[in-house]
């Protein structure tokens, strides 16, 4: 929002120079006129457009909306000043009025010749030479621009911040944590001119840097650990989150960083990491509610991708053109849907999975898991090698035996006639399970009935079953017969009165594609009649009262009338050749297997064979523990895209194909017109927005406000940059550096502008409350996660460990249960996971972590790029009474007592320094000493108070310390964590 204050600020410099259309005039026309006389004028039947120069200046039978040089002859001036309500513009119904100052600007601009400019953000950044100066203040290019602006405003920069303040500022900014006392000491001792630069290099090399950068990116990318909407079940996207951290830490080029997230899946032979990167555009919410119309939400997901992509990479509010042509920017509704078409081909369903990830997704082993997998594969290779080396001995012993072989690994139940046809000991599989059901049967006439099942014993019961149905082999997995099930049937019909070996495998992918049906060892083509499974059977699984049934299931009428000769239930997916073995196919390798498993085989060889089988089985099980991540993929058949009338999923209009908005430069030659081509175009240096929007967001991280304050909107309603030349210069530096992200952070934090003291005078505060002119350094409250991280860090509780599943730190009891579906409750993590950095905190979309919410974290429901900060009493209560800060206060107090030194003063100074990064002044030391004395007195006058006060959190107070002393130090510790300075980047 462009505020009055900013307008004054911008205007103050504007009047000194010639008016500029983009800076001074367009904002007025856009906000007050474009809604009717803008890109969408035609639909409203309005003949005049003020966003197009030719139209605005056209001769309309001797009348001109804008007549250069002739303000009094310009209709626009007459109309905004008209006294008759009917003639006055904008009409009263719009609620807008043009102020006197704005009229004066319009007049003057027309008088000066009404020179038009294309919207600045849609044209390439201009090469800028940093303005020359005789001042010795500038340290790099940034400062030349800042200084020139300050000079115009007759302001001067502030002095450099003190070394302690500066080190704390840059340590927070680059790592999200405060410096430690030894780091401060080292910095203060280093008197070389490069001391600061060395510190910056050290911080940029720290793995914490990636975590810091990722925290903001996760908000932009609406990352969360649940699906959102109503049910809000858990999903698993943390592998994508860890990829982001790692990408920042290895300083991946920013264009690649963006490109891989947008279209890594379409790169030639994409690596696992490139696939994981595409999780970016699967982070949107997913609706799992029973009653939804899936098509409606399939559209919402694509719209979300369009809005997120255009906001994050282009600073465009493309979403405004969903229902109608954009009111302010030159974007038509059709162009919205042409852009939409790039993201519309994901093979996905509008109804998301209730639990876990929704297709498409992939197993995404961590680095450690990949290493372990390699180890396991090595062990398997070693056994194979052993058997190969003994080949001649085995061959000699085997003597051409041709015995039948049946796979035995993973066999849960082997039924033969005479054995119980019901058991609870086998077949407890849920929808994510891997299994094989096999039966050797003789078909009845007609060939129909249940072969193997574990389900509620009714025709549409919950669970799974393998049946014959009118001759066809029928497989179902059912949570709700109506809308939550998979059903497939073979195309082929079996004949009555014949023997068959039937087998079905299911690989846990919760889709019909995960079901394979074999008859006599041959894979059968199937027809899928239902492919919408979302919820686990849960109570139809292992805990279920229903047993596994042989020859029955689905009600009495479904009892098998034929003959079952044998049945096998495996807890793994048998590969096709092993299914063939079941069917009695004779192959040399089966004979070999049968021999090796028999007592006739040499003992060492037999042991090796059995070990090999076990290793393979264990490896498969291990692979199933891999985390998964949702990724982007393209359907082979592009889904048709249409203009949706008024944005509604069920009102398709004109069909559209992928295409870029005309206002932007065209696709480079030779790139495909698909998502990959789009990604190449977005990340190309010719794109006027990508580098600017990114540098602007970086700038916001350091100074609290972007050079363009509307970081999400570079369109005509966006704010004119406070330093347009600087923004262009930064954008071109970014490109020139080869999209070097770390280099850009370094550029900003080593500027003199950044290194200024953040002290302010009342005059400057009044003149420039937001510090847009940069006559001082940045000073603002830390982001939510940094406040908690810093408290944990100061106390020493912080457990640093990069990546992994999200964790659940302390949270007031009952918050989930009160408003979520009844079975969901928050289960706190234990041990060190209580003290991880905030970006690893489990983010439930409908009930976000309360401390984060209190301190203005983004909502993670949709893309958020603008940082905002409030200052409320709830924050005060949070820091005073949340167990997180009470425990951290106590451990900080303990640390003061044990590490701080011999005297009270030393201990208090130590604690103060851990919290603020500097020594207390004498006044501050006195206040702290008084506070400690008070609390010592308070707790020793009634020691019974100390015990409960110390009992905060799961860590235990040090029993060696006197409880009253510790309690008093704990109170002071908590006081230190509440200081304005502690929660502020200064």
């Amino acid at each position: 929002m462009r505020t009055i204050l900013t307008s004054i600020l911008l205007a103050s410099s504007a009047w000194a120079q010639r008016l500029e259309f983009n800076r001074d005039v367009r904002p007025i026309l856009s906000d007050k006129c474009f809604a009717c006389h803008g890109p969408d004028a035609k639909t409203k039947g309005i003949p005049l457009r003020l966003d197009i120069e030719a139209d605005a200046k056209a001769d309309r039978r001797g009348r001109f909306a804008i007549r250069p040089g002739q303000p009094d002859d310009s209709e626009i001036i007459r109309r905004v000043r008209a006294s008759q309500p009917a003639r006055r513009m904008p009409p009263a119904a719009t609620g807008h009025t043009v102020t006197d100052a704005e009229v004066a600007t319009l007049r003057r601009w027309i008088a000066e010749g009404a020179e038009w400019q294309a919207h600045w953000a849609y044209i390439a950044p201009k090469v800028q030479t940093p303005p020359a100066t005789s001042s010795r203040w500038p340290r790099n290019g940034i400062d030349h621009f800042v200084l020139a602006r300050l000079a115009r405003e007759r302001l001067t920069p502030s002095v450099e911040a003190s070394p302690e303040t500066l080190l704390r500022r840059v340590t927070f900014d680059l790592t999200g944590l405060p410096p430690t006392p030894p780091e401060i000491d080292t910095f203060l001792r280093d008197k070389s001119p490069q001391a600061y630069e060395h510190a910056v290099d050290r911080l940029l090399a720290s793995p914490r840097y990636g975590e810091r950068m990722a925290a903001r990116w996760l908000e932009a990318a609406r990352y969360a650990d649940t699906n959102g909407y109503q049910f809000d079940g858990e999903r698993q996207m943390w592998r994508w989150r860890d990829w982001v951290i790692e990408a920042f830490n290895r300083n991946q080029r920013y264009n690649d960083f963006a490109l891989e997230q947008l279209a890594g899946d379409l790169l030639p032979k994409p690596s696992l990491n490139q696939l994981i990167a595409t999780g970016f555009n699967r982070n949107h919410r997913g609706n799992t509610e029973d009653g939804i119309v899936p098509e409606e939400y399939a559209v919402e997901y694509v719209v979300d991708r369009v809005e997120t992509t255009s906001t994050v990479f282009l600073g465009m509010t493309l979403g405004c053109a969903r229902c109608h042509n954009h009111k302010y920017d030159p974007l038509t509704q059709k162009e919205f849907y042409q852009f939409f078409a790039y993201f519309n081909n994901v093979p996905e369903n509008g109804r998301a999975m209730k639990y876990g990830n929704s297709p498409p997704y992939i197993p995404a082993p961590t680095a450690a898991q990949q290493a372990e997998l390699a180890q396991r594969e090595k062990a398997i290779a070693a056994e194979r090698d052993f058997l190969r080396r003994h080949e001649s001995a085995i061959s000699a012993a085997q003597r051409g035996a041709e015995a039948r072989w049946f796979p035995s690994t993973g066999l849960e139940y082997h039924w033969k006639p005479g054995q119980p046809a019901e058991t609870k000991e086998a077949g407890g599989f849920d929808i994510g399970g891997h299994f094989t059901l096999a039966a050797h049967i003789k078909t009845p006439n007609p060939p129909t009935g249940a072969l193997i099942s574990r389900m509620v014993n009714t025709p549409q019961g919950k669970g799974y079953g393998l049946y014959l149905k009118d001759g066809r082999v029928h497989v179902h997995l059912t949570s709700n017969y109506v809308n939550d099930a998979i059903r497939v049937d073979t195309e082929r019909k079996l004949e009555p009165g014949r023997e068959y070996e039937i087998a079905v495998t299911y690989d846990g992918r919760v889709a019909a594609a995960g079901v394979q049906v074999y008859v006599d060892g041959q894979l059968e083509p199937v027809k899928v009649s239902q492919d919408t499974l979302y919820r686990p059977f849960v109570n139809a699984g292992a805990q279920f009262k229903e047993p596994l049934r042989i020859g029955a299931g689905g009600g009495p009428a479904n009892k098998f009338g034929g003959e079952i000769l044998t049945a096998r239930i495996y807890n793994r997916v048998l590969p096709p050749e092993q299914v063939a073995a079941l069917a009695g196919v004779k192959r040399p390798e089966f004979a070999r297997a049968a021999f090796l498993e028999s007592a006739a085989a040499p003992e060492n060889v037999r042991q090796s064979w059995l070990k090999l089988q076990r290793l393979i089985d264990e490896k498969e099980r291990f692979e199933r523990t891999f985390p998964t991540v949702m990724i982007m993929a393209e359907s082979p058949q592009p889904r048709p895209a249409h203009v949706l009338l008024r944005g509604a999923y069920d009102k398709p209009g004109e069909p559209v194909s992928p295409r870029l908005p005309a206002v932007l430069p065209p696709m480079p030659a030779g790139v495909p017109n698909n998502r990959l081509g789009l990604a190449r175009w977005i990340t190309s240096p010719e794109n006027p927005l990508f580098a600017r929007v990114t540098m602007n967001r970086f700038w916001q991280m350091y100074f609290g406000t972007g050079l363009v304050k509307t970081v999400e909107d570079f369109g005509t309603q966006g704010e004119w940059p406070s330093h347009p030349e600087l923004l262009d210069w930064l954008a071109l530096e970014f490109v020139r550096s080869g999209w070097d992200v770390k280099a850009m952070q370094k550029l900003i934090v080593t500027s003199a502008a950044y290194r200024q003291s953040s002290k302010v005078t009342p005059e400057l505060q009044e003149r420039d409350p937001d510090n847009r002119l940069l006559a001082r350094g940045p000073r603002f409250r830390l982001a939510s996660e940094m406040i908690r991280d810093a408290a944990l860090h100061a106390s020493g509780l912080l457990h640093e460990s990069l990546g992994g599943p999200s964790v659940k730190p302390y949270q007031p009891a009952g918050l989930w249960k009160e408003i979520s579906m009844q079975d969901m409750d928050y289960v706190e993590s234990s041990g060190r996971d209580l003290y991880r950095r905030g970006l690893y905190t489990f983010w439930k979309r409908t009930i976000a972590p309360p401390m984060m919410v209190n301190f203005d974290a983004a909502n993670h429901e949709s893309c958020t790029v603008r940082e905002s900060r409030t200052n409320t009493p709830l924050q005060a209560l949070n820091l005073m009474n949340d167990v997180t800060f009470l425990e951290a206060g106590r451990v900080l107090g303990q640390r003061m007592l044990k590490e701080g030194g011999q005297t009270t003063g030393q201990r208090l100074s130590y604690g103060f320094r851990l919290a603020t990064g500097r020594q207390p002044s004498p006044v501050e030391a006195r206040v702290l000493a008084g506070s400690l004395a008070y609390h010592l007195d308070y707790f020793s006058s009634d020691p019974a108070k100390a015990k409960p006060y110390l009992h905060q959190g799961l860590s235990k107070p040090d029993p060696a310390l006197p409880a009253t002393d510790l309690a008093a130090y704990a109170a002071v510790g908590n006081l230190l964590l509440n200081l304005d300075e502690t929660v502020t980047k200064e």
């Binding site: 309603q717 009493p873 008084g930």
Partner: protein
């Protein structure tokens, strides 16, 4: 100290949650807003009794005596007109008409027909305006609640309470302008989300503050065990001394605001427990609100708390009562649900009236959609279920600005489509704002280049129900 800083500190010491409570950031957002109210308000505050899950209009408010003879017959296609159904009944083979098993009778002087499930509401029939012709766009809980709360089906926009606290601020500087309470119902409970009372793109200070039963009515309100108010006072004095030292050196007004917010937090530690402490309420209060009234966290107890908040000038008070989602065994479950809520809802109106507060308090009773006339699942003479129905539902409003004793709008014979005076959710919002003296087209906030409104480009004030 510089006069500006002093002035600011003073201002922030007096006012915290409301529109005058401002740091540098907040100040800017306020300059963007218009001045409200736009005209003389009828109501100073709102109590919004949100019945979450979709209460059945057919069994509570929308009297359709002629349906009885159509029991079990197929809902005519001419009525359904191919309208979309939820995925729960779209595959159902038949749509048998399920008339209500409950009796309706005229209530009060006005003769408003109400179900036997609402005997207490019957006693306030002359105070309430029942609207039977509300319709919504959404067919599922989450988007429908989000729509009712924010005027838009997808997450991201400010809730109505946030809009109002942004526009009107608070009358009570010691309490939040927007308070939310949640109670549990007897029926199938669907999930709620924090965003239902969130601030969307407005600053988070406008978000609803959830009051909970138990020792911490507001999160983190209570001091830790062993830490008494005297110690907290000393703690705050020391903290203020250190922060003021910093303020003198840096002159950043945010520090002054922070000092003031800690004072406010301290005041809340007294004012909120005093507010939630019912021990001084006479027995007659509990008798009025019914048997659950002494159970903290119950709907009835929350209604008493709503009245106490209204007395203290809290601007927007919203209760969410869960459990109105009767897909099956509706006759049994809806009765239980009404037993939990009917008496307390009526008592609240009566209580406000007795205290002279009803005229200046707008009370709204509503769910997020209605329920189908056809049975979900098997229809028997005594049992049926109903699926979600967005095409019509009923609600009532009472108090400041509302004409009591009337019904507005009609549905067709099947309570399926609206026959006259359709009312959109945006109209409800426009009317609520109107009662507060706010022109809904003027309450805007600029975000992403657009001037957003609670009512988007819609909303008409429902004139016939105004007093």
């Amino acid at each position: 100290m510089h006069p500006i800083l002093e002035g600011q500190q003073l201002a922030t010491r007096r006012s915290f949650f409301g529109k005058a409570g401002m740091g540098a950031m907040a100040l800017q957002s306020l300059l963007g807003a218009n001045n409200f109210p736009n005209f003389a308000p009828k109501a100073k505050r709102v109590i919004y009794l949100f019945q979450h899950g979709g209460p059945s209009q057919l069994d509570l408010f929308d009297y359709k005596p002629n349906l009885a003879k159509l029991s079990g017959t197929e809902l005519p296609d001419s009525v359904r007109q191919g309208q979309r159904l939820t995925g729960m009944t779209a595959f159902q083979t038949g749509f048998p008409v399920a008339p209500t098993v409950f009796k309706f009778s005229p209530q009060g002087k006005s003769g408003t027909y109400l179900s036997e499930l609402l005997p207490h509401t019957g006693k306030i029939a002359d105070d309430i305006a029942v609207i039977r012709s509300v319709h919504t766009e959404a067919i599922n809980h989450d988007p429908a609640v989000t729509f009712c709360q924010t005027g838009f089906q997808l997450a991201g926009r400010p809730s109505i309470g946030a809009w109002i606290s942004y526009g009107l601020g608070s009358e009570n500087q010691d309490l939040p302008a927007f308070v939310v309470m949640v109670s549990q119902g007897k029926g199938g409970s669907q999930a709620l989300a924090d965003r239902s009372w969130g601030s969307g793109f407005l600053l988070t200070k406008y978000a609803g503050v959830k009051f909970r039963s138990g020792t911490d009515p507001v999160l983190y309100l209570s001091n830790p065990a062993g830490y008494e108010p005297a110690a907290r006072r000393r703690f705050l004095d020391d903290l203020a001394a250190l922060n003021e030292h910093k303020l003198r050196e840096y002159q950043d007004p945010e520090i002054a605001t922070r000092i003031a917010q800690y004072e406010m937090a301290f005041k809340m530690q007294t004012s909120v427990p005093e507010l939630t402490d019912f021990s001084k309420e006479p027995d007659s209060t509990f008798d009025l609100y019914g048997p659950d009234a002494r159970t903290p966290g119950s709907y009835a107890a929350n209604c008493i708390l709503a009245r106490r908040l209204a007395e203290r000038g809290v601007r927007f008070i919203q209760l969410f009562h869960r459990g109105w989602d009767q897909h099956g065994t509706l006759p049994r479950d809806l009765r239980l649900q009404c037993q939990q809520t009917d008496q307390a809802s009526a008592a609240l109106i009566q209580d406000l009236k007795n205290r002279g507060l009803l005229d200046e308090t707008l009370v709204v009773w509503s769910g997020e959609f209605g329920r189908t006339v056809y049975s979900q699942g098997t229809l028997t003479p005594t049992n049926y279920g109903r699926d979600h129905h967005p095409r019509c539902f009923s609600l009532w409003m009472a108090g400041g600005g509302i004409r009591g004793g009337i019904t507005h709008g009609e549905t067709d014979d099947f309570s399926y489509n609206i026959a006259s005076d359709p009312v959109e959710v945006h109209d409800i919002h426009a009317t609520m704002l109107h009662c507060l003296g706010v022109d809904h087209t003027k309450l805007t906030y600029r975000f992403q280049g657009r001037h957003y409104r609670l009512t988007d480009v819609h909303g008409r004030v429902i004139r016939p129900i105004l007093s």
